[in-house]
């Protein structure tokens, strides 16, 4: 494979190699100059602040400790358009919701670096007395003001900024005192953008990861995290895990040692448990293979990321089961939703209720594990069989460089993602649920899946088509998008009444 031409972005060749410290200093200076609050960032001061926090407010330590103790922590999502609303929200999630990890979701203008629009959103929110933004405009407020949020809670805080352009937000977030940051180059670029190249997205996250490693050099271990839930829409475990491996290798390349893997739940007890286990196993396998022997990779399981039903009672089952799936699956944390999911961003109270319901479900799951169940073992084997050939191919396509291999693989559809908005992904892979409720690939597009594996997937999905008496075509994939959002009359009607 030929190396890609060198892009002008930041003037270094594109590869998985660690960014040199001198180059990085120049990149940072340029980056911080893009918005006035960038000038407030002082990494020495920030590192001192992080060290002054009690251990239980540092997510790096908290994730390691939770893993060691076999816990499943809870974390919601949440962001509002003004500091005041955001503070109230975080206090509510901390106290009323008993969240173990408190989030700050940024708004979509911030995610797209449209800080002028975000400024307008703050004003409009203040005027309207309700949030007109779908998250907290962190860059506009800057690190000094934002630190008030860290001080308002007694838990570790994480930035949730679904974006491929995290460079200024991460500087602000870490400087403010956030000890966790969710996001990665392949996952977010493929799922949250249309016209940004995968290469640019990876570069941007290399910046973020390099920054996190720089904090390590200052004695602060931050928690980085990969959003393997992708487009949230029927992502089969193998695809999520491929992106986990790729983004973990990229992060490790920049020196990150504390890297969480997130998986959206498939909503199948056995498949989710297998996915959670294999995400860690396979990511470690490739990290080791590439010479990274000390990267900590706990798995976070996310409440159903696809379309939710419009009935709150039905949603309550998805919320509670989400706790069950995460805990029985052995996830180190679970990211929660609420019964408002289908309607809009939840109120703080609904969000807190979702947390508590999940927490109770985690309690009820006790220490139950499915590891000895033959069906679980089969599923684990299947995932490994799906992932390895493709991952090996990706590395091969980059001549061993995962960054370059990934670009080629996305171009070729060797690495693909369902329902992607990105012009740089083929998005030909089409998942569908099978007869038993597992997520399978109805169509693997151009991904080089083992024929035996696809045979198995097809057979299971075909069984479903036969059972439902529908034809074996793409409509199965569309029906699978709607499935869990359907009302119960459709999902399980009273079976015997005369029509």
């Amino acid at each position: 494979m030929v190396a890609l031409p060198q892009l002008d972005a930041d003037d270094i060749p594109f590869s998985a190699a660690r960014i040199d410290v001198d180059v990085f200093d120049i990149m940072r200076a340029k980056n911080l100059a893009r918005w006035p609050t960038g000038a407030e960032v002082d990494i020495e001061e920030a590192a001192a602040f992080h060290k002054s926090l009690p251990k239980h407010k540092r997510l790096g330590w908290v994730m390691r400790q939770a893993d060691a103790e076999g816990r499943c922590l809870t974390q919601p999502r949440g962001g509002f358009g003004t500091l005041e609303l955001q503070k109230e929200l975080m206090i509510c999630l901390d106290q009323q919701g008993q969240a173990d990890i408190v989030p700050t979701t940024t708004d979509s203008y911030t995610r797209n670096e449209q800080w002028e629009n975000a400024a307008r959103g703050i004003e409009e929110s203040k005027k309207a007395g309700r949030s007109m933004l779908n998250g907290y405009p962190m860059v506009n407020y800057g690190p000094k003001v934002t630190r008030q949020l860290i001080e308002a809670i007694d838990k570790p805080a994480i930035v949730l900024s679904g974006t491929s352009m995290p460079k200024l937000t991460c500087e602000i977030g870490f400087a403010a005192g956030y000890s966790g940051y969710l996001g990665s180059g392949l996952a977010y670029t493929s799922s949250y953008t249309k016209s940004l190249s995968i290469e640019q997205g990876i570069r941007n996250y290399q910046y973020l990861d390099r920054l996190a490693a720089m904090y390590s050099d200052h004695g602060v271990e931050l928690h980085r995290r990969q959003p393997g839930f992708l487009t949230g829409t029927n992502i089969p475990p193998c695809i999520a895990i491929l992106t986990c491996i790729i983004d973990a290798l990229l992060a490790a390349g920049q020196g990150v040692k504390n890297y969480g893997l997130e998986l959206g739940q498939t909503m199948h007890l056995v498949q989710d448990a297998a996915a959670i286990k294999m995400a860690r196993v396979l990511t470690q396998e490739y990290l080791q293979q590439q010479g990274y022997h000390d990267v900590f990779t706990p798995v976070t399981s996310l409440h159903w990321m696809g379309a939710w039903p419009h009935d709150e009672a039905q949603c309550e089952a998805l919320v509670a089961y989400g706790g069950t799936l995460a805990a029985i699956g052995g996830a180190v944390s679970v990211t929660t939703k609420s019964s408002h999911e289908a309607f809009g961003i939840p109120t703080p109270e609904a969000n807190a209720a979702g947390l508590r319901s999940t927490r109770m479900a985690v309690y009820l799951a006790r220490q139950i594990r499915l590891d000895a169940l033959p069906e679980f073992e089969t599923e684990c084997d299947m995932i490994a069989k799906e992932v390895r050939p493709i991952m090996d191919k990706i590395l091969e396509m980059g001549d061993g460089d995962v960054a370059i291999g990934t670009i080629h693989a996305c171009e070729a559809g060797v690495m693909d993602i369902p329902w992607s908005p990105s012009n740089y992904m083929k998005s030909r892979v089409m998942p569908a649920r099978d007869i038993d409720g597992y997520l399978r690939m109805f169509d693997c597009g151009d991904m080089p899946m083992d024929p035996d594996v696809m045979e198995f997937h097809h057979e299971r999905v075909r069984k479903r088509a036969e059972h439902e008496n529908v034809s074996f075509d793409h409509e199965l994939a569309v029906a699978s998008v709607y499935e869990l959002s359907e009302n119960l009359e459709k999902l399980i009607p009273f079976p015997w009444a005369e029509k």
């Binding site: 708004d107 979509s108 203008y109 995610r111 797209n112 449209q114 629009n117 307008r120 959103g121 409009e124 309700r130 949030s131 007109m132 933004l133 779908n134 679904g162 799922s191 949250y192 953008t193 249309k194 016209s195 487009t231 829409t233 379309a307 419009h310 408002h340 289908a342 309607f343 809009g344 961003i345 939840p346 109120t347 609904a350 329902w419 992607s420 908005p421 569309v478 998008v481 959002s485």
Partner: protein, 150 residues
Amino acid sequence: MTALTKQQRASITLVTGVIGADTHIVGNRILSMALEKEGFNIVTLGALTPAEDFIKAAIETAADAILVSSLYGQGELDCRGFRDMCIEAGLDDIVLYVGGNLVVGKQAWEEVETRFTDMGFDRAFPPGTRTPDVVEKLDTDFQSKVSGTA
């Protein structure tokens, strides 16, 4: 009101896309696929589409309607002035639909609907709208156009 035939629908051009910084493509794509299957002539702009691009595309394709999706909550900001922009561009009579999760949070639908019709949208569709409902409304709204040309 009777449903239009696929042939009648073929004369109707619809521009679809997701407005603003919004990446939620799934529903928009399914909607576009479904409308196409039902016979409409569809121009898809995809996710993350600025307001101006909708209008540009509508002019270029002489579209009869623009179907704006907004899911991420900031639609209320993104959609302000959309009708005025259409009028400025000479698209005085173009039919405007908007649908998705149009505002931040769970709000009373009647209020949300009024907010968007006041902005100049002909119809607004609540969260959870299924494609057959959209086809039905399109058929209704284009009944006269089609019978006029018939």
